[in-house]
Amino acid sequence: MESERDEASNRHSKRSKHTKRAQLPSNSASNRHPKGRKRTKRAQFPSNSIQDSNLTIPALPPELITEILSKLPVKSLLKFRSVSKSWLAIISSPEFIKTHLSLSANKNKEETHHMLILGLSGPKWKFKDCPLSSLFCDSVVNEVFDLVYPIKNASKDISIVGSCNGLILLAHYSEYSLLWNPTIRKCKKLPDFRPRLKINNYAVYGFGYDEFHDDYKVIGIFNNYGGSDYVEVKMYSLKSDSWTSVDYCGEILNASGSSQKMKLTGSGLFVNGKLHWDTITSGPVVRTGKNIISFDLANEKWEKLEKPLVGENELCVGMMGSDLSVFCGYEETYLGAWVMKEYGVKESWVKMFTIEYPKGQYLYPPFFMSSKREILVVFGSTFMIYSSKDHSVRYTYVTNSGDCSLMEIYIESLVCPFSTEGRENATKEREKLRSKQSE
């Protein structure tokens, strides 16, 4: 018996790679086979070997089950919800979801739970994702998975605003926005808020987590394109599932006394409990401003941060890891980046690197710094990894990422986009499904 088991464990280790591949989606053909394999396995291990040990193995206490489950990846947890009612209860409890999230974020150092999501344009829009770690490890990334497009009409483009704790905020201009957790395949359309500016407006969003109120919040800033200076700011809370009005930062934004009116631009970047927007002049000549404007999701206060002073260069705001950063393209062939090491301290802006990049390429701001202090930089369809240790550069090829036009990094989590009271809603969803089936 003993030797048989050893043999089996050897076989397992050899097969483990193969197993992973067999778990890929849309593999229905290979899914049909395992039953046959199962039978052969059973023949090798008589079923009474399990019954025998029934007497000796003590039952696992619930806290131990929880401990083991908290160490599983989300995909396994989704699967194991159906083991039993008690497992379902553990996996959908808000406390468990939080513990699991913080454990995954701690493993952050190895990027094991981070995914890179790509938005691909075309007649039909597509989202794909791939494990972030593979970009750093392999020279060719083949494990790029198709995600189910979160809205029915894939000819409508939706842009990625930002991600936080596994939730991604998507928006279709000022028309509507969605909260999406691609890992658990749940998407929620946010309610309409009847803006006073119905048409002709230009929307800027931001998305983050308010730790103080344990709530996910979306900020929408709606500017009028022409004429009026009127700006409407709305804040959505996932807990209350509703929008409220928030004051605009007009005074802080235009405090410098310059005759040029400024406005917020780009997607809000979530750092240190606050959302951050870059500033630009509101035309006719568009220039990037010298300040970053932040909004505190807990106390709803606007503030101003100064970018570092670097000659005449216009600096754009980005993120590097969990730090705020700015970057500029010197003559569009060199990229320079600075990081604010200590949040809110102007003196802590530190130059991170200058790297050469292919001419005439558009630059994506989501830089990512790995545990080995390697930085991911994306130009067009080129994925470049810059090592801050020895200043070397290498390239990673991502299969089928050709016409990628959107990019964001997210962490795999169980966080539900419906409400923080996950369990309650899960049951509701279930009931809905059931009633649909009976119809």
Partner: protein, 163 residues
């Protein structure tokens, strides 16, 4: 298993489920929160652990010894030992994990739980039920709903419950 006299060091006897006795230095068992409290509260020289198989106890004592010898210079060696330590059939790993949880050896518990998680993550729902001896308490309707939602969960390739 009997050991000779160990000078002035305090000696403690652990009694496994099958009455096998393990004599070891008291300092070693202090890594277990449970045994530490037992030893502190009253002067005991023998602790019965009827719920832990001798085979499991042998493994755990092996770990305690290795862990006590851990220094910055043999860190790599210890890591390899840890890896080998959990490289046992799943049933045995679960026995160890349950015992470690009972004995409250915190560092090892974390490691064992991760090892169990790594071993079950690609398994099917059926296989996991078998491993943890869980009977499904869902109705057939609920079950079919799950099958629709996550068909891959029920068609796991790795249905071997022993590994």
């Amino acid at each position: 298993m009997a050991s000779s006299t160990t000078g002035e060091k305090k000696i403690l006897t652990l009694k496994g489920g099958d009455n096998e006795e393990f004599i070891l230095e008291e300092s070693l068992v202090l890594q277990s929160e449970l045994l530490k409290n037992m030893v502190k509260e009253e002067r005991v020289s023998s602790i019965p652990l009827p719920s832990i198989k001798s085979k499991t106890l042998v493994k755990i004592i092996e770990y305690l010894k290795k862990h006590a010898e851990l220094t910055p210079s043999n860190k790599e060696e210890f890591k390899n030992f840890e890896k080998e330590f959990v490289n046992v059939v799943l049933e045995e790993l679960l026995d160890i994990t349950v015992a470690v949880n009972y004995l409250k050896i915190n560092g090892l518990l974390e490691f064992c739980c991760q090892a169990v998680a790594d071993r079950i993550k690609d398994k099917s729902v059926e296989a996991v039920r078998k491993i943890f001896r869980i009977e499904s308490d869902f109705t057939p309707e609920e079950e079919s709903e799950f099958r629709k939602e996550t068909p891959e969960a029920f068609e796991g390739d790795l249905d071997d419950t022993t590994n």
